[in-house]
């Protein structure tokens, strides 16, 4: 079974960088901006995940509804 692991690592890396960004901004005393940065990182990851979940649904449809 060949499964492309790139998106998993991509999402992981975005999460990692967002975490560092949050820490850096918090250290500099810009907590409000830090929260916004985290939110933006979360939205980016959500967008990517939504993409793959959409793929999954079409796949399920294809298998079980014989289209």
């Amino acid at each position: 079974m060949d499964f492309d692991l790139t998106p998993v690592f991509q999402i992981g890396a975005v999460g990692f960088i967002t975490a560092i960004l949050h820490t850096v901004l918090k250290q500099a005393g810009k907590e409000d901006i830090a929260h916004w940065a985290t939110l933006v990182g979360f939205i980016i990851v959500l967008y990517m995940v939504a993409h793959y979940v959409g793929d999954l649904f079409t796949e399920v449809k294809r298998v079980f509804l014989f289209k």
């Binding site: 991509q10 975005v14 960088i17 960004l21 850096v24 500099a28 990182g41």
Partner: protein, 172 residues
């Protein structure tokens, strides 16, 4: 391979942007110090040397570092040209011309502008008083600038790098 080179370029340029922004935070205290020294020299020239303002500006401008010195040099030049410009007007004009090259902000401009109103238009004691006042103001600003440097210099550096990294990962 091309992809890797592109990613590297994005990363490097984003880091450079962050580095450049952090540089303004490094420059500001240095230039504020230079301006302080300049004003103290100007005080000596005015109060003890009794030097004419145009020559005092010139002397001061030559002795402090370039960005701040240019301000005084061009003020001296404008005074020398003698197109009926007062000391205040020439200093204001010089400030307008050289401000973008310095790392100063609005507060420094206000301090210098209020000082310019007095220079060359009142007696020695009054000018000395106002010079001292400006120096005190600038000291406070310098401390503030140093605190800001400690806080934000590193932040902008890492922010640039991390932003570049994020862009690279999103596009990879």
């Amino acid at each position: 391979m091309i992809k890797l080179i592109g990613a590297l370029m994005v990363l490097v340029s984003a880091s450079m942007v962050g580095w450049q922004i952090s540089r303004t935070y490094v420059k500001r205290p240095v230039q504020l110090r230079a301006l302080l020294v300049a004003l103290q020299m100007l005080e000596t020239e005015i109060v003890y040397g009794l030097t004419p303002l145009q020559r005092a500006f010139f002397k001061v401008g030559q002795r402090v570092n370039k960005e701040v010195g240019n301000l005084f040099l061009s003020a001296a030049e404008l005074l020398e040209q003698g197109r009926a410009l007062s000391a205040e007007e020439s200093l204001q004009k010089a400030m307008m011309r050289h401000w973008p090259q310095t790392a100063f902000r609005k507060q420094e401009q206000e301090v210098l502008a209020s000082l310019a109103q007095v220079l060359g238009s009142s007696d020695r004691e009054d000018q000395q008083k106002h010079l001292r006042l400006a120096v005190t103001h600038l000291r406070g600003l310098e401390e503030e600038a140093r605190a800001e440097q400690d806080k934000y210099e590193k932040m902008y550096k890492s922010l640039g790098f991390l932003g570049g990294l994020l862009a690279v990962i999103l596009m990879f």
